[in-house]
């Protein structure tokens, strides 16, 4: 029974004398290859030229700051719990007096590490985060020479305070988040 009409019946027949000369086939082949000489190369010259990636691409993580430049993360640990690869480890600390401009709430992550070799870039940390703190961005994780260099700490993950350091994740946000309503758990939708 045929499920699709894509299948082709291949009949093996003896070559006739024209085919036995091979020459027509060779000329066909040469014609095909010469056509490719004039085609645009498919190469992306990587370091200078970046490949265009999907708007919802899940690449290197970013820890977001709010409008005033304070870190959003409160070290609740939901991302670490949600992580199926157990790539995230967090140490929490209490905000001291005088640190209000650094951290948005009383508790913050003193240490926030993601092992980029363990991470499977599923985006579940982002789903789990109630504070809008972690997002996957469209940046590609660069190579490194040692395994240790793939454990990213806060120095790499947290975005910069000034405008140039900010990482745009608007494409990663759900529609209701863009409209300003707080992030809702998936269950309540």
């Amino acid at each position: 029974m045929q499920l699709t009409n894509r299948s082709k019946v291949v009949v093996k027949h003896d070559l006739n004398w024209v085919e036995k000369l091979y020459l027509p086939a060779i000329f066909n082949g040469l014609a095909i290859t010469i056509k490719h000489l004039f085609k645009k190369p498919a190469t992306v010259k990587y370091p200078e030229q970046k490949r265009e990636i999907a708007s919802v691409y899940r690449g290197q993580h970013v820890l977001k700051r709010d409008d005033k430049g304070r870190e959003n993360c409160t070290a609740c640990g939901l991302c670490a719990v949600a992580c199926p690869a157990e790539a995230i480890s967090i140490e929490a600390a209490e905000r001291k007096k005088g640190e209000e401009h650094l951290y948005r709430e009383e508790k913050y992550a003193a240490k926030y590490e993601i092992n980029m070799l363990r991470c499977i870039y599923c985006g579940l940390c982002e789903e789990a985060c109630p504070k809008d703190a972690i997002y996957l961005s469209d940046r590609i994780v660069p190579t490194a020479f040692t395994r240790g260099n793939f454990v990213y700490g806060k120095d790499v993950l947290v975005e910069g305070i000034d405008a140039s350091g900010r990482v745009d994740v608007s494409k990663r946000k759900k529609k209701y988040e863009m409209e300003g309503s707080p992030k809702q758990p998936l269950l309540n939708k």
């Binding site: 060779i26 095909i32 000489l37 190369p41």
Partner: protein
């Protein structure tokens, strides 16, 4: 001894030597670029503008690599193998007429190192010695892959030299000469056409055999890297490997020159005499014409390499012995009959 002649020839030899090496070096670059373009890639583009310094980088790499001579090898033969291959590759350039002669204030400067009256025989003799370079290199390595590659090279060269020689015989019947310059000049002037028109079948046979003699795809069985690691040069490293690879490109350059000279009018093109150029300009134009043809054939060699898959060994032998040799003999007979009855 005519000292002016000696000086002339020395200068010419040095120029041809340099040009051969330069062309061979840039053939490697051209090969990689053409391979890339035919496969929708970019090819080497990091070293210099468009990657033009790539051959120099490759050369430096070859020179600075560690020189390894296997313990079990025959050391003398191991060294002499690539030398023979390189030497014969360069020697073949001696009989090719590169263009019309220059005239510097009454002093005639010919562009052919040696106008032998048995030029084609010389060519065949030297090319056959080149086969020894491969065989000795493969044998001396004391490595089964190298030996297999060398055996294949030897049998391939023997098989295809026959058909090549027969296709040349048909050419000689028409041109009545073994000298390359006379063959080239016989294709120009009134009423003469390029030999490819007079000998289409012979040209096809010669072309196929040239591919086989140069160990180029689709007949690159001696070094078929997917079966024999590296074939006859498996054990070679550093500049000895470089000599082998380089000599192959020189062979390709020379055989392109031979094909152009034998079948495509060499340094002539239709209507070159009616232009009535001054002698030195005409000489430059003729050299440029020959090199345009040579470059086209080098391109063709590469074009074929990146189009056709490698022949199987039995197919190679079938094609050589059962198809090309009978065909070339028939070609000789037909040509002879035509000359006898219609000329």
């Amino acid at each position: 001894m005519d000292w002016a002649l000696l000086l002339d020839k020395t200068i010419l030899i040095v120029i041809i030597f340099a040009v051969s090496l330069g062309i061979a070096a840039y053939s490697t670059y051209g090969e990689r670029k053409i391979a890339a373009f035919l496969q929708d890639r970019v090819g080497p583009d990091r070293a210099g503008p468009f990657g033009l310094l790539q051959p120099i980088a490759d050369g430096v790499k070859m020179f600075t690599k560690e020189e390894i001579i296997p313990n079990a090898s025959d050391k003398f033969l191991f060294i002499i193998g690539p030398c023979i291959f390189m030497m014969t590759a360069l020697m073949t350039s001696a009989i090719i007429p590169w263009g019309k002669s220059f005239n510097f204030g009454g002093h005639e400067f010919g562009l052919q190192v040696a106008d032998l009256n048995v030029g084609l025989l010389y060519l065949f003799a030297v090319v056959s010695i080149g086969g020894y370079g491969i065989m000795i290199g493969g044998w001396a390595s004391n490595n089964k892959f190298a030996l297999l590659g060398a055996l294949r090279a030897a049998s391939q060269m023997i098989s295809y030299e026959l058909a090549m020689g027969m296709s040349i015989v048909a050419l000689l019947l028409i041109n009545n000469s073994l000298s390359l310059r006379e063959i080239v000049d016989g294709q120009a002037g009134d009423g003469n056409v390029w030999n490819v028109v007079r000998q289409p079948v012979g040209f096809l046979i010669f072309l196929i055999c040239a591919f086989a003699e140069c160990n180029r795809a689709p007949f690159d069985l001696p070094e078929s890297e997917s079966e024999l690691v590296g074939g006859y040069h498996t054990e070679f490293s550093s500049m000895k490997l470089g000599l082998f690879l380089f000599a192959e490109y020189i062979n390709m350059f020379i055989s392109s020159a031979i094909i152009a000279s034998l079948y495509f009018g060499g340094y002539h093109f239709p209507g070159i005499d009616s232009l009535d150029l001054p002698q030195n300009i005409a000489a430059i134009v003729s050299v440029a014409v020959l090199f345009a043809k040579i470059l086209f054939f080098i391109f063709f060699f590469m074009w074929v390499r990146w189009t056709l898959p490698r022949f199987r060994y039995d197919q190679l032998m079938n094609l050589g012995w059962k198809v090309l040799i009978p065909l070339s003999i028939i070609n000789v007979l037909v040509t002879g009959a035509w000359i006898t009855f219609f000329k």
